[in-house]
Symmetry: D2
Subunit: 328 residues, 4 copies
């Protein structure tokens, strides 16, 4: 179930403090000359180090262990692994019994009956998004579409020039904030997606919600479209190619790409790990107790998330693109 896709299939494994994390990609066409620098570039975008994120650490070093030969994909399952290093685990056992609010600590304890690797969030760690980024960077090399992203809101702030100011305040308060990222795909074609369930927007929403911290996804105008009448919202065709004069529907009609730009907005909640003390139930003490999450935290983890969402979109589009070729 920890697999996405019908033909281009991405499976993820690993835990934050385990030996390695990685991604297995099946259904990748043979003969793709992999641009390794692009994978590195995308991983670097996800790396901490900017203002409001934890201090810069070393680059994620990955190895391609299968499905890759003489610089090209072979067409058989491609496995990319990142070994975990520098994983200090001493502090985590207490979190098992005093779960962090907003984290998956508690649900993991119940679902996995106490057997989960609880260190650093284990399998729920944001670290696994590095695997998504690797798969996404490879997916981008299969599809003819162009994908980009930008933060359009940070907390209540929509003016990018004021983001740094907000971040400074948050760091002082040992708190965090969420935001909204717009992800786009341009140079689209008409016809990706199926009319029910396997709709393009349905699958995009699914993979976006698969990224930790995502709590809302909208296509085109999304929730803002509630203020428009049908006569305003309806995108009128302006020519035979399917271009529309407006793009309220964000490039998808009836679950199928209509050739206009895909426009997706994604809300990410504030990072759950904050330095500020919180009151939450302690399973050892059987009462609500103060919890202070140790370590350095991302106050605006969303600054690292754009590339992850882009990657998720690329993975989904690669799958739809391959499927569409079967029907040409």
């Amino acid at each position: 179930m920890n697999t996405y896709g019908t033909l281009f299939r991405v499976s993820i494994y690993g835990e934050s403090h385990g030996k390695a994390i990685g991604v297995l990609i099946d259904g990748i066409p043979a003969g793709i000359k992999l641009d390794i620098d692009l994978i590195k570039h995308d991983l670097d975008l996800r790396r901490p180090g900017g203002m409001g994120t934890t201090p810069r650490i070393e680059r994620d070093e990955f190895s391609i262990l299968s499905g890759y030969f003489n610089g090209y994909t072979t067409g058989t399952p491609l496995h990319v692994m990142i070994e975990n290093t520098n994983t200090k685990s001493e502090d985590y056992e207490q979190l098992k019994k005093h779960p962090r609010p907003g984290h998956a600590d508690f649900v993991a304890e119940v679902k996995y009956k106490g057997y989960q690797d609880y260190r650093g969030g284990g399998h729920f760690s944001g670290r696994l998004t590095a695997a998504i980024v690797i798969a996404g960077a490879i997916a981008k090399q299969i599809i003819p579409f162009h994908i980009s992203s930008k933060i359009i809101q940070l907390g209540s702030e929509t003016n990018p020039s004021k983001f740094d100011q907000l971040i400074e305040t948050l760091q002082q308060e040992k708190d965090s904030i969420g935001g909204i990222i717009e992800v786009k795909a341009t140079s689209m074609v008409v016809g990706l997606g199926e009319p029910f369930f396997h709709k393009l927007d349905a699958e995009i929403a699914k993979i976006m919600f698969s990224i930790p911290a995502v709590k809302g996804v909208e296509i085109g105008d999304g929730f803002h479209g509630v203020h428009l009448r049908g006569s305003e919202f309806n995108d009128a065709l302006s020519d035979a190619s399917g271009k529309t004069t407006t793009n309220h529907s964000g490039g998808i009609s009836g679950g199928i790409s209509n050739g206009n730009d895909l426009v997706i907005k994604v809300m990410m909640k504030p990072a759950s790990s904050i330095g500020k003390p919180q009151q939450t139930y302690d399973f050892n003490q059987h009462e609500v107790k103060e919890l202070e999450v140790k370590g350095r935290h991302d106050s605006v983890i969303i600054k690292r998330a754009g590339i992850v969402l882009e990657s998720a979109l690329a993975i989904s589009l690669a799958d739809f693109y391959l499927i569409s070729k079967a029907y040409q």
Copy 2:
């Protein structure tokens, strides 16, 4: 691909003006005494007839053709069919060449190379949501959770007592409006969902976006949560059962149900079919021409959508519930 689910599997077929629509449900446990009245009740909620919807028509008459014996499910695939009656098709051929804005007419023409059944939206018709409602009414009889929904916004209006006024205006203007529906599941358990891709929120978002006209899905606070700091957004555990003092995360942590109420908000765009004339490309005339969509239209189709979204949620939860039983 027009199938949803891993164990509880729902497949939909049919076209608006074809011979029948229906749903095939596989993976349903044996021995469920089906409450046929509940299916009828839910179908009635979806039926037009209220203010702002097209005039009341006859009840959808369905037949259970397999998987049902002596009043109980047999455990083998259950097929429910609704035969289409009163389908006047004369007016639709023009829409093939003069596609309606906001509809799937154009993408269907391209994707299916002109072979689609274009009458009344064909397979893209909202009529197929009757099949979803049937499957949902059956799903509800498998799960121990309680599902409900309500319209919380109509256009810009959030005060339900003023909805009728707005609807009247719209009908006069031959226009339509969208809205926001809140769908809830209560009496939840901890542990539904997988950590990646097959997350509970990811699958809920997927099935919600599978419903025609949905353009946004949020869990818990969703986009509104952007204004909260981590210290405010984080839901603190108040007792050993996993109950939290707040529910900003809408009952899902790390993609897994945390035992609190599931709270999902869904934005539906205004109905595309409006009486008001629209300017859009005409493939016969090779220019933008005025289009007037004939017939009677729903100006606030969202009034019929709550039960559809409830049904979608029930289908998804039934699948997760069965999977969870495999790991107990």
Copy 3:
């Protein structure tokens, strides 16, 4: 789970004495001009009436209820239904408590906790193979390969000219016999199949074993190949197209079609329903009792099975063929 395929997806429903049986086909390309006569022709081949089969009954009348418009497939799910008529059910209740040897009566009772439709074998009835034949006849219209079948052994008899003699004996003895059918696909291409699990032979074996009464499947020489040395079994390439001088491997190497004829042999056990009395456990009497299965029986049901196996092969090949197009 009662669905086969990745892109070309076939789902089957129905019970022998229920209202209808049918098949839902998803992933069928748009614009296939369906040859309805071919469907009828193939269904007729499956119809009883020949020597050693039950007396001729009326033709299976099917309706295409969706996914078909103006003579062509629309690209959306295609549903074909056969209504059941003349289903006398009076005699079946006793079989629930005195299950027929060789039938699924007992396992159905346990698996479905007594809720199964037990009349005429219910969902396990060979009648559902009519749905396979319909799907297969449609699949044949998608693939460029030619499929055929023949009975190569009936009981211990391998000389077709002596089959009738054997059948006569069986009918006198109120007994039945199995046989071996060879199914072939010619005009094959190189490259269908994946190296693990989704191998061409693995999927063919899966769909063949999905047909009731099949107890053995072999590719190429199969079990007879046990007598050959590697130097004899290895098929040597004779030219650049991949043609081999011998075809011991039956057209599949490493799970992937090699361009030579696909050769599959399928063993079908004797029909379980025989007139001859049998001793088997009676759950009412709590002891082994004699059972005499009433009605008219096929003593050589395999005479009707060739077209079913052909259809199964066509379904599988249609799926592989569409997938292969995604990677061209």
Copy 4:
């Protein structure tokens, strides 16, 4: 597609001469105390070294890189890797243009357009069965059934005491031979399997054919059952538990386990790699030329295959077992 299973999902990757091979197992229950010695024991059974196999090499050293914590499975994807060592690749490039008869060399070249890792068979190498064995050894720890296997025929020889004699001859002749293995599962339950497509026998046949060199699979009497009449083949129930006096059907009725022992026979063709020179097409010389496959070969590779087939059966049964729990 290189994934098997619905809930217990096994994905395999790697190439014979690549950096590593491995297996990703998803859907494994949390809290299984893994018996690492069993995994080693099963891998050892697959290791060469006996008479008629290539000389003993070092043990396959595996690492569990995720999904495993403090000696127990965590419930999240479990990844096991074997790094490849001692992989001499110098001799393989010629095989790309002079493909070995009976191998996948030619189909890989066409399917993957020349981009495949051709060294040592690449992804098609029997080496990947080590990954199957690991997954199988873990699967065995989930299921309550007991699995065993034995070689019942080697070439034309059915007397085990004469196997060594045959092997000696083969080694002198630099040739190979196939055989038949019987795989059994005992302590079975009633009810595993679905009535169509996802039948127990259909899935077992699928996973057996996924093992390299398998060319035939039969359940119970299989092809030998062709000589029996229905009155002989039908297994009569002898008591209320479902035990039958005979087991011609090999423990499966209507695609569903009937509680009796599962009996599966699998034919494996002779190893393709033989020392004896063979005539086959040379794509460089554009003519049929003699090929002598260098290196040491298994003349009776089937001696190492029993544990692989057992593992395959265990994987399939683990999946069915988990699914059955969802419906209890």
